[in-house]
Structures are given as structure tokens and as C-alpha cells.
């Protein structure tokens, strides 16, 4: 009789241990998934930021005096002149966001495009959900014209295409989960070439 009780007790305890193990496995898997998603959005962010910085820092380079460096200054698009490949010819570079991509769990993801000299646009579908541009004069105020723009504030947000488990609250339903997010804002990203006049 005592053996039977031992077996029953063992089975019950083993059941609990297995349940705990499964729960632990799920939590760890969710955490690992969240960590991977976070790593992915961070790497995507760095990739995009490096491209943006590479281009924006050269804004106005090689552009003759009297020719404006900035061509189009929108809230989510920018177009400017620069001898971007340093070959002695002034190029026109555009950065802009396309429409949202359908079919992904995250409905806010867009493609961030870069186009040179009106050629084929190259898109970076790396989870960009926000690409914002703000233009300021030398005093940090609104510029009266394109020529008065000295400072460009760039905002970029990248999100994972699917929601990931919160690393603290582990028992959320999928609806309650959030996307992995990386946010970058450069408040002083402006080439010296656009403020060298005078």
C-alpha cells in the first residue's frame, strides 16, 4: 500500500515538476524570442542610421555657391544635392518612406527608400515605423526659407514585425504583447556644407 502511495505521490510531484519545466521552457523561449527581436531591431536601426548619417553628413558637398543644397524638405521625405560619391559631379539624393506594408502582423511597418539621381529607389524594409524630419534655423526656430535651414532633426523608429513577450510580465496574451522597438533621434544632424555661406 505504501508503495502505491509512493508511486502516486511521485507521479503527482513529477507532474508538477514537468508542468513547471514546461512553463519555464515557455518563459525562456519567449524571453529568448524577445531578446532576438530586440537585437534584430537594434541591428536594423544601426544599419539604417549609418546610411542616413553617411548621406546627410555630405549634404551640400561639392555644390557650387548660389545653388541651394536642399531641394525638398518634407516631414517624412528629404531631397538634397551632394557630390555623394566624390566624383566631381553633384548628385541628387532622396530619402522617403513608402506606404505601409500589408500582410505583416505589425501594420505600421514601411519601407524607407533612398534614391540617387532619380534612379531606382532602394528600399530598406527593416521594420521602419517612423521616419521624421524637422528643419530648424541657426537659432533652433522655424526657418523662413530653405536657405535658412542649418539644423535637421532626424527621428527613426524600428519595430519588430511581430509582437514579443514582455520580459517581466510573462503571462500576457498575444494581444497584450508589444512590438520590440528601437528609437533614434539625432537633433544636430546637419552638414557643415549647408551653413558655410558668408
Amino acid at each position: 500500500m505504501s508503495i502505491v502511495l509512493d508511486l502516486i505521490g511521485s507521479i503527482v510531484i513529477a507532474g508538477f515538476v514537468i508542468l513547471i519545466g514546461l512553463q519555464l521552457n515557455q518563459t525562456i523561449a519567449g524571453n529568448a524570442d524577445a531578446s532576438t527581436a530586440n537585437l534584430n531591431v537594434q541591428e536594423s536601426m544601426v544599419d539604417i542610421v549609418q546610411s542616413i548619417e553617411y548621406d546627410f553628413r555630405k549634404m551640400g558637398y561639392g555644390v557650387p555657391e548660389g545653388v541651394p543644397a536642399l531641394i525638398d524638405t518634407g516631414a517624412t521625405r528629404i531631397s538634397f544635392r551632394s557630390d555623394i560619391d566624390n566624383d566631381g559631379t553633384v548628385d541628387i539624393i532622396e530619402w522617403y518612406t513608402g506606404p505601409v506594408i500589408t500582410g505583416l502582423p505589425n501594420p505600421n511597418i514601411r519601407v524607407l527608400y533612398r534614391r540617387v539621381n532619380g534612379g531606382n529607389a532602394v528600399g530598406a524594409a527593416l521594420g521602419v515605423t517612423d521616419f521624421g524630419l524637422k528643419y530648424l534655423n541657426q537659432d533652433g526656430g522655424p526657418p523662413v526659407s530653405l536657405s535658412a535651414i542649418y539644423i535637421i532633426e532626424v527621428t527613426l523608429q524600428v519595430e519588430s514585425p511581430y509582437k514579443v513577450q514582455d520580459q517581466i510580465i510573462t503571462d500576457q496574451s498575444y494581444e497584450d504583447m508589444e512590438y520590440a522597438v528601437a528609437f533614434w533621434r539625432q537633433t544636430r544632424l546637419a552638414s557643415r556644407n549647408i551653413k558655410r555661406h558668408g
Partner: protein, 437 residues
């Protein structure tokens, strides 16, 4: 039972171990991403700091060309220079290289910049001080000498504006291009407004010296190879340009007692510079080609000479007003004053056109006796105006023009990078291009 427990423990340990290893790998990857970006940012900032140091050396010491290196913020940098160009177009290249060790990864970054000494013709308006400095041909001051020059609502400057003192601005004068000055502008309320419009921004603390050596350079190039060179000293000279590339040379101006002939401009100079030493130069007409005409102050009895007199329209044959690719270009340089000659036939509707870059080294560009002239219309300058003091062409009250002429100055964009032959240039370098890797 004991064996089963061991299996459970080992199984759980494996699950936990693998899970933690995954998380740890992601964390390390995340840190690696951050570290790489941090390293690149550090290398870039070190290169920028080095480039700023190099820029400072060039801007505050024109002769600085020695490479230097150092350490900053955990990295190293090296800045080197290369000089090219000739008088009037000196160019200096700067390369700043940085090296930063980010956890074993050596990250490099480079910033390059180009500096150039530029022609004064790039300014639409340049003065040493915004005060009237009218001096008569006999050396006596005009009645408004020393009075502040004010730019007020309705005034506009199209092209770069600079003064080595301070601007006096009332209301909302308009500056289309960047404004620079040694000191901040003095602002005055005008009709309830005190807010100048700087379309391209402003920068105070900028001083650009006008080197007297420029005058010496012009003199050395003046009248080179010309058979008329001997007549160009200690005489007043008249030059009337013709569209076919010739000019009437009259020495002395008004009588032609020594020379009165029409010759190709090429016979007056091979260097592009025509100069009168110890005399005044009177000009008018339509020119073809690229020339700088100048009048230099003499010594003794000719110490008050060196004035250029505008006797009538001075026009480019191929007008740059309509053709920005026109090859016709004129510099007018007066070591002393530039006067618009009195002309009693002018009326309120008259317009005097001048297509030229004008430079008055010790004086200003003005209209002869402007304060007693009847209302004489407008002067339209398409070029550049550089003066020691701020010349006036008329007397204005709140009711408008009372005497003299209205002023209209438009900058010739061709002068942004290239001036007329041997035209005065700055001794200070200016940043013209900046490349960040």
C-alpha cells in the same frame, strides 16, 4: 524514483541552460551592436574634433600648413594639409584621420575639408564700417561724414553682406543671403517693428581684413605690355568703352592733349589690369572682355588722386543680367573714392546702369555732392560693392528721396567664385567644402 529525479533535474537544467545561453547570446549581440555603433561614433567624433582643430589653425593662421597629431577621448588623430592654387585662388586641403580601438576592433574615420581665399567680389555689400565717409576730391569731408548708415524696412540686400564693424538695422530690412559682421547688429524700432529678415541666417564675430597688398598687386600688373603705359601716371585718364572691344583713351581726361585715340583694349594691357597712378580715372561705355580698371593714389601733389569717376552707364556687352554665362566682366578699383559724376540732365526717372564689381580701398562709392543734387533717379549696380565706409547716393527722410539717387544693388552670381582679373582677394581662408566619411 531516485533515477527519475536525476533525469528530471538534468532535463530541467538543460532546458534552463539552453534558454539562458540563447538569451545571453542575444544580450551579447545587442551589446556588440551597441559597442560597434559607439566605436564608430567615437572614431567619427575624434575625427571631427581633429578637423575642428585643423580648421581653427587655418582660419586663424593663414600660413599654417604643418601636420599635427594627438590623442583625444581614448583615440588618436592626425591632421595634414596640402596647398595649391595661385594668387587670388589659394586653396588648402585638410585631412583629419582618427583611430579608435573599440574592444579590439580598430575603427577609423576621416574628415576632409577644402579652404580657399576668395575674391571680395563675392560680396554684394562689404564695408569696414556702416558710416558715411564722403570725402570731396579736395580732401574735405562731406556734410554727412561720420553719420551712421541705416538699413530700414524696404531696404534689401541680394547677395552676401558683411561689415567689419556692425550693421545698423531699423524695422525689417531684408537680407537675401547670409549676413556676417564683426559685431552684432544694432537694432532700432521702425514703425513698430524691430526684426530684420535674415533669409540665409547671420553670423557675428567674423572679421575679414582687406589687405593693402592687394593694391600693390594690382599696380604691379597694371598696363603690362601697353605702349600707353607712360601716359598712365600723374594724369587724369578718360576711358570710354565700346562694344567691339575697343576703347577711347583720353589723356588728360577732358582735353586729350597727350593722347586721344581709339584702340583695342588688348593694347592697353596684357594682364587685364588697366591702372592710373597719381591720377583719376573717368569711365563709361559698353565693354567686352574681362578687365579691371583702377586708379591709384600718388604722393605729394597727387596724394588726393586715385579716384574713379563714373561718367555714364558702364555696361557689359553681353549683359550678365540676362546671361549668367556672359564672359564680359569688369572690376572697378579706386584706392581712394568712387564718384558718380554729376549730370544735370538726370531726372527722377533716370537710371544709371553699372555692370561691375566696385572696390574702394580707402573711401567709398558715392555720388558727387549727392546732398545738393536734384532728385536724379536710380543707380542700378549689377555686381558687387566693397568699400571702406558706406557710401550714400542720396538724402532720404520719412517722406522719401529728397536729393540724389535711389540705390539698387544686385549681386552678380558669377562673382561668387571668380572675380575680375587680379581683383582684390581675402587674406583669410574660407571653408568651401566639408566631407565626413
Amino acid at each position: 524514483m531516485g533515477k527519475a529525479a536525476v533525469v528530471y533535474v538534468i532535463g530541467l537544467s538543460l532546458i534552463i541552460g539552453i534558454g539562458l545561453a540563447n538569451i545571453n547570446e542575444s544580450s551579447v549581440g545587442s551589446m556588440d551592436t551597441y559597442s560597434t555603433y559607439f566605436g564608430r561614433t567615437m572614431a567619427h567624433n575624434i575625427a571631427l574634433a581633429a578637423a575642428n582643430l585643423g580648421t581653427h589653425r587655418i582660419l586663424f593662421n593663414t600660413g599654417s600648413s604643418s601636420a599635427f597629431n594627438g590623442t583625444f577621448n581614448g583615440g588618436t588623430y592626425r591632421v595634414s594639409f596640402a596647398d595649391t592654387g595661385t594668387a587670388g585662388n589659394f586653396t588648402k586641403f585638410m585631412t583629419a584621420e582618427a583611430l579608435y580601438n573599440a574592444g579590439g576592433d580598430e575603427i577609423r574615420d576621416t574628415v576632409q575639408a577644402v579652404f580657399r581665399r576668395v575674391t571680395f567680389a563675392r560680396y554684394a555689400w562689404f564695408t569696414e564700417a556702416e558710416v558715411n565717409g564722403y570725402v570731396r576730391p579736395n580732401g574735405k569731408n562731406g556734410p554727412y561724414f561720420g553719420h551712421n548708415d541705416w538699413k530700414i524696412t524696404g531696404d534689401s540686400v541680394w547677395g552676401y553682406a558683411h561689415t567689419n564693424y556692425k550693421f545698423n538695422l531699423a524695422g525689417r530690412p531684408y537680407f537675401h543671403n547670409k549676413v556676417t559682421a564683426t559685431n552684432a547688429a544694432t537694432l532700432m524700432d521702425f514703425k513698430g517693428e524691430k526684426d530684420p529678415i535674415y533669409n540665409e541666417g547671420y553670423e557675428w564675430g567674423v572679421t575679414i581684413q582687406r589687405d593693402t597688398a592687394n593694391i600693390g598687386i594690382l599696380r604691379s600688373f597694371a598696363n603690362q605690355g601697353s605702349p600707353f603705359a607712360p601716359y598712365m601716371a600723374n594724369n587724369d585718364v578718360g576711358l570710354e568703352f565700346f562694344a567691339d572691344g575697343t576703347a577711347r583713351l583720353e589723356v588728360p581726361c577732358g582735353t586729350g592733349a597727350l593722347v586721344d585715340t581709339v584702340v583695342p583694349m588688348s593694347q592697353l594691357t596684357s594682364s587685364g589690369v588697366i591702372g592710373v597712378y597719381g591720377g583719376d580715372l573717368h569711365i563709361k561705355g559698353t565693354y567686352s572682355g574681362q578687365y579691371t580698371v583702377a586708379a591709384f593714389t600718388g604722393t605729394g601733389a597727387t596724394g588726393l588722386k586715385g579716384n574713379v569717376w563714373i561718367d555714364g552707364d558702364v555696361l557689359a556687352n553681353d549683359s550678365p543680367r540676362g546671361n549668367p554665362l556672359s564672359k564680359d566682366m569688369l572690376g572697378i578699383v579706386a584706392e581712394r573714392m568712387g564718384y558718380i559724376t554729376k549730370d544735370p540732365t538726370r531726372t527722377l526717372s533716370s537710371v544709371l546702369y553699372i555692370d561691375a564689381a566696385i572696390y574702394a580701398h580707402n573711401g567709398e562709392f558715392t555720388a558727387e555732392d549727392f546732398w545738393i543734387l536734384p532728385k536724379s533717379g536710380r543707380v542700378s549696380v549689377f555686381g558687387s560693392l566693397v568699400q571702406k565706409s558706406a557710401g550714400s547716393l542720396g538724402v532720404f527722410t520719412m517722406a522719401g528721396l529728397q536729393n540724389g539717387m535711389y540705390y539698387s544693388i544686385r549681386h552678380d552670381p558669377r562673382f561668387l567664385n571668380l572675380g575680375p582679373p587680379k581683383y582684390p582677394f581675402s587674406t583669410k581662408y574660407r571653408l568651401v567644402a566639408w566631407w565626413e566619411g
